[in-house]
């Protein structure tokens, strides 16, 4: 999988119907997860949204947000300062983990959060989104991504030196849901030559909110569909399949 060869991170977002009543019970329901994190890492960053909502981030880089109508689990890397006596401060890069493995873990964590939040009744979701964000050198972008940027830029007579674009495409319309994907990329050759950000946000939008009664299996099936699509975007030739 091409995303495994880049520094790329996943996010899983579940959009639910706004539920003001349940919102203030969420921190209590997530207590077992928080206890595990504190016991394992001895630290956790916690934040409360003023308008209702709760979030926390683990030492390793997983962040959990429960907002009015969103449940989000995501992973981010963070570089740390390395200070050795007699040396200049340097930035220590984090160990790289494969996107596929991080996504698996994110799915498991999201399923766990859904199970905890659905203590009394299953969480009903309107939309499930799986986002892959990757950083790369533009010259080393996979063929499909390079084609996408090249074709968009070919409209102009000169060289495209800066872009920040999102293209939303409906992929599949079924009776109960629509699959779509937000394709976003950004680069600025004047400011940061050869630096490219790519985001692919695969979403399944349900016509009638879906009760996540078996979240692990349901989210895994959606994860497989999203990964298969991401792979095709990277390989290119989407219209030839």
């Amino acid at each position: 999988m091409w995303l495994d060869t880049f520094i790329a991170v996943p996010l899983i977002g579940l959009q639910t119907a706004p539920n003001f009543g349940a919102l203030y019970k969420y921190p209590e329901r997530l207590q077992p997860l928080l206890d595990e994190v504190v016991a394992r890492d001895s630290e956790v960053q916690v934040g409360v949204e003023p308008a209702g909502g709760f979030q926390f981030r683990t030492k390793r880089g997983f962040a959990y947000k429960v907002l009015l109508d969103n449940v989000i689990v995501e992973f981010t890397y963070s570089a740390s300062d390395k200070r050795l006596a007699g040396h200049r401060p340097a930035i220590e890069l984090p160990p790289v983990e494969s996107f596929g493995a991080l996504l698996e873990e994110t799915v498991d964590q999201a399923a766990r959060v859904v199970s905890l939040l659905s203590a009394s009744e299953p969480l009903r979701v309107r939309r499930v989104g799986l986002l892959a964000s990757a950083l790369m050198e533009k010259s080393k972008a996979p063929p499909g991504v390079a084609d996408m940027i090249g074709r968009h830029g070919s409209f102009f007579s000169g060289d495209l030196i800066k872009a920040e674009s999102t293209f939303v495409v409906d992929l599949d319309r079924a009776e109960a849901h629509t699959d779509r994907c937000h394709h976003a990329y950004a680069f600025d050759d004047a400011e940061r030559p050869d630096h490219l950000t790519v985001k692919l946000d695969w979403q399944r939008v349900f016509r009638v909110p879906l009760a996540l009664s078996a979240p692990t299996e349901q989210l895994r099936r959606m994860k497989d569909a999203a990964l298969a699509y991401f792979e095709r975007v990277g390989q290119g030739g989407l219209r030839d399949a």
Binding site: P50, G53, E74, R126, G129, L131
Partner: protein, 183 residues
């Protein structure tokens, strides 16, 4: 770390419509806010009737914003991506080369389908990535050394040019011959 999604920009949706929450106005409690340091000012004066409230307004279709993988400079991204490629693709190098070779041979016998052409291009891209991950760092160092040598060569030739421009004037120290002849 840059955050694409801040508390003031969180997007909501309800009943099929997406809402965006606007920034909250700052509320000062007991601090030197409007009238805060003025003991004669009535309690609550200066504070608007709806301070601290946030606006929910409809916006169009939105995707999850999410964080970037991290705040990394381009050279760090290159290094991390090479590491990821070494971990993921290097062990598959032979298989990728065999698959590429098979498709290439097929292309010599007849035209490939567009799907096969895309696959061939993808396999070749993977091989390029593997090569870059295996020797790219060394090549970068060589390129840096070559650039440093070129800079040094330019400086030395400039220095030699400047040296040649120097015209020696008469020396204030007299040589042995000159001293004899003056006697």
């Amino acid at each position: 770390m840059p955050s694409a999604q801040t508390a003031a920009q969180t997007k909501y949706s309800a009943e099929g419509v997406v809402y965006e929450r606007g920034p909250a106005e700052a509320v000062t409690l007991g601090g030197p806010g409007p009238g805060g340091s003025d003991p004669d000012r009535p309690v609550g004066a200066g504070a608007g009737p709806h301070r601290g409230l946030r606006t929910l307004r409809a916006v169009t279709e939105t995707g999850a914003e999410g964080e970037l993988p991290g705040d990394f400079e381009p050279d760090m991204v290159r290094e991390l991506n090479r590491t990821a490629t070494r971990q993921q693709l290097l062990p598959q190098r032979r298989q990728i080369a065999r698959d590429r070779s098979a498709l290439f041979m097929k292309s010599q016998e007849g035209p490939l389908t567009r799907r096969e052409e895309a696959t061939l291009r993808y396999l070749e891209w993977q091989l390029d990535r593997i090569e870059d991950a295996a020797i790219g760092e060394g090549l970068d160092r060589l390129a840096e050394m070559a650039a440093a040598h070129e800079t040094l060569a330019k400086r030395v030739s400039g220095w030699l040019r400047d040296m040649k421009k120097l015209v020696p004037g008469p020396s204030k120290h007299k040589g042995r011959k000159a001293r004899r002849s003056s006697r």
